[in-house]
Amino acid sequence: MNISELKTYEHDVIVVGAGGAGLRAAIECSAQGMNTGLVCKSLLGKAHTVMAEGGMAAALGNVDHRDHWKVHFRDTMRGGKFLNVWRMAELHAKQAPERVRELEEWGAVFDRTKDGLINQRNFGGHRYPRLAHVGDRTGLEMIRTLQDYGIHQGFEVYMEYSALDLLKDGDRIAGLVAMVRDTGEFVVFKAKAVIFATGGAGKAWKVTSNSWEYTGDGYAMAYQAGAELMDLEFTQFHPTGMVWPPSVAGILVTEGVRGEGGILVNSEGIRFMFDNIPQRFASETAPNEEEANRWLAGDKNARRPAELLTRDVVARAILKEVKEGRGSPHGGAFLDIANRREAEYIKRKLPSMYHQFKVLAELDITKQPMEVGPTLHYFMGGIRVNADSQMTNVPGLFACGECSAGMHGANRLGGNSLSDLLVFGKLAGTGATDYCRSLGQAPQVDAQQVTQIIRSATDILNRESGENPYLIHDDLRETMQDKVGIVRTDEDLKQGIDQLEVLKQRYQKVKAEGTSQYNPGWHEALSMRNLLITSEAVAKAALLRTESRGAHTRLDHEGESDQWLQVNVVIKKGADGSMDVQKVPRPQPPQELQQVANAELEDLETAIAAEAKT
Amino acid sequence: MAEILPRTIFLERQRSDTWWIEPVLVLLGLGAFIVYATWAAFQGDHYYTVSYLSPFYSPLIYVKSGVAGSAPLWHSLLGEWPSWWPSYLPASPAFLILMFPGLFRFTCYYYRGAYYKAFAATPPGCAVGAVPQKNYKGETFLLIFQNLHRYALYVAIIYLFILTADAVASFIYEGTLGFGVGTLVLLLNPVFLGLYTLGCHSLRHLVGGRKDCFSCAGSGPINGVYRKVSWMNRHHKLFAWVSLIWVGLSDAYVRLVSMGIITDWNTWGI
């Protein structure tokens, strides 16, 4: 193959993924004068960010002026079970408010407080009403704002292009090869730096809130290029996904329902969350319905209802109810807002939930309770990056948003992801710009690498016969759901890894029917490689971590272990091509941050108030 | 782009549902009203009975005395029918005034959409092939006068007062206070017309829609008015039809009573 015949685009920076993080990174690169290209699998504005509902967390203090970045930071660390990269949680809590205001400056129209400021709502794990929101379609607002602003910032958008693999010049990044989905043709992007904003890999599970795009492309491409993956065992199961009808199982029901007062009830009509309050949160959670009701009525001295505990806790509690025979008819729990709020209020605050249940489940949430159950939602782990620059261990490769690791530790708080996208999207843009400027000679593209990448893609089409990619995917989803689910054991995980081995063998023979032009079967087959690598990494990381922490629950190793708090599980491609899984010690956190995170809430608040006075 | 797309064929569609019901109903309904109203306006008689004045004939500018079912002369704004009136035109009071509410409805945003569909078939239904036009211009060319809808509105608001006055007057027959079926008919008429007229898109713009900020300084109590107009505007189509049918029925009622075909029940015993 003569690669000079391939269409080649040259940019300083290529951003892969056009969700919140990717768009924000591209905007930043453009603003810094970089010649930037944005490559995305879907049409612009369709990325998974549109599905985010509840809001973006930022300590603006518009609703409760006691809020402060330190309280946000403390909430984030506690929610992440202290496994977060301290510096990332700090940067996030400090910078999120300005990112939110900036979004408003670019045209976002958030719901307002009575004083005309950006309104903020309550959410699980957040001490104060902290989520800037627009009804229950905050993600749409965010992506549309970034899109409408971004298209005037001068970066090039390559819509419906799938990135296949990275190109390297020695150790450094030199660009990537992509496939145009419409036509099936291959193109080369030459770039000094590549920013991944590729999201997670929920599509490896059967019940997930993620769309088809979530196939772990970033993890797999980075892994192949020698980057390190970290904390992949922490896969968040959102407690409230739809469970009925089967064809929509997994679709997200926003935490905003609980934030607005919704309660979880089992088949016996009992609010079971009060029986599931972990010790760590006991002092900050209402112990009974009476206090929870006062909280809903606006009593600032009342503590938060148990339904607003962190996602890992709520997901496990629902699972327990179902396992012990107190589940709803279709194997979930009841989420009731109908008896808590007026119909008009529900329709105004949760319009898309109302619509979603009305159309997809023929259920009126202002009259009946919803049936909900855990659904795979988010990857806390991902590509290991430097907290300030977002660069990986591969020079020129950056990652931000869900595909990067560290910010959320063992469990992410709701609302922290949207602000994460903006904060670290911007930092990745700055990081990539600095890197490009520091480069002496532009990296060169190696023709052989290009040929190799294209050949593995076309082999799938050219084979005479072989495995149906859709069926391999179905089997993968069964495996991950059964063996690498919400609760894990040594035995299950080992079986899962064995089954993944078989799937990898089958994948060698995968065959896509038809031509290369807009061929979903082929696209599915191409993304299967990435899903398989990611799944293997998740399973192996989960096997190694013999403790239960946050979203990672080991039935055979209950409780958090102090030893495991000292290490991250880091995965990279070994010299022999096999997956290398290691425990890597964590650096000591700065004293000051440690004090904030470990402080008693009252003490911290007093300190903040005193600081404000001086 | 245009050359890639297939040419439109009139009524081309893949729809198998009953999309045509609404345009057909509009065609029949509006058609029937136009025929009846034109006929009734040309009659020049039987527009007044008891104390009831047909809304088609209000305001009365001139009255031709001695015609069957005509109004008493005092009802007329300018007195007796003028002698200079050309003989080839019908000597009907409705002829002078009916075009104004007619124009209001003709330029109304709801009716425009409805008759472009039902009468002009641009398009006949949603995702149904429109009548092919060499150079579709929308409302930019011949139809540019539609932009003066607000002036028709100003006149329509004056008519609301006139018809309300007629309704009040209908309670007094030869100096005696009373009421009858006719008073009820004439009373509901300005109510329905009001719900329709005050839900006008142009009015909604004028009372607040043109502002970007309702609560800002100097905007006064705009938001309350704007909200009420908006509520009526949401039901503009409903009120358009109810008021249209009612105004036609009001004329028919007065006409039939005046002709002696039906009898009005009333407290005056006539």
Binding site: H152, E213, P520 | T8, G138, T140, G209
Partner: protein, 252 residues
Amino acid sequence: MAKLRNFKIWRGDSDSGDLVNYQTEIDEGMVVLDAIHRIQVESAQDMAVRWNCKAGKCGSCSIEINGVPKLACMTRMNDYGEEETISCRPMKSFPVLKDLVTDVSWNYRQNQRIEPFKPRPREQDGNHRMMQEDVDRVQEFRKCIECYLCQNTCHVLRDHQKNDEFVGPRFMIRLASLEMHPLDTADRIPKIREEYGSGMCNITKCCTVVCPEHIEITDNGIIPLKERVVDRYYDPILWLKRKLFGKKDQSK
């Protein structure tokens, strides 16, 4: 429970194509997109269909089902009779790429033409203040998921192909969301009349009918813009007033 149902799905590309018959089993609660996916797995691996969120939030799966423009993910199978054959076609107003997928890039070019948001300066404390009652209108338009069903259905584009003279309903409400934004300071009224083509719309409301987000595109978006154009260009009294009192064109 499961029942075999008949489908006719348009297969082809920009050159040619035709409806092809398929059959698949339908379970309770399935939507048309589920059926298309099942057919893909069973008998048409390479059948192209665009989709993402499968919950009516991204606006990717716009097609014409039995001739009616709809989101495939929000159209339930039990909306149709058990014996009815379901037909699926690509959106008519855009060039077909393959099967049910069309080239909607024209829409992105229209967005590019629109002058972006231009806010007034922030207040002293770094915040912007707007009241909820002032942003209600704008928030309705911002619910738009860019499924382009309105663009597809609008006869100005679909039948008369006036793509050069009218940006279509989606971008009329984008313009409305900017023009009515309490913080915005730009003036787009001249272009709304001359370039974006507010006069091309004849308010037949098909855009509103097909909108999956139930945005009142015509009544709340396009007509108010038309009225603002009237203020500027067609109302003789306002024109005279401006001439006499030298008032500025802008309402802002």
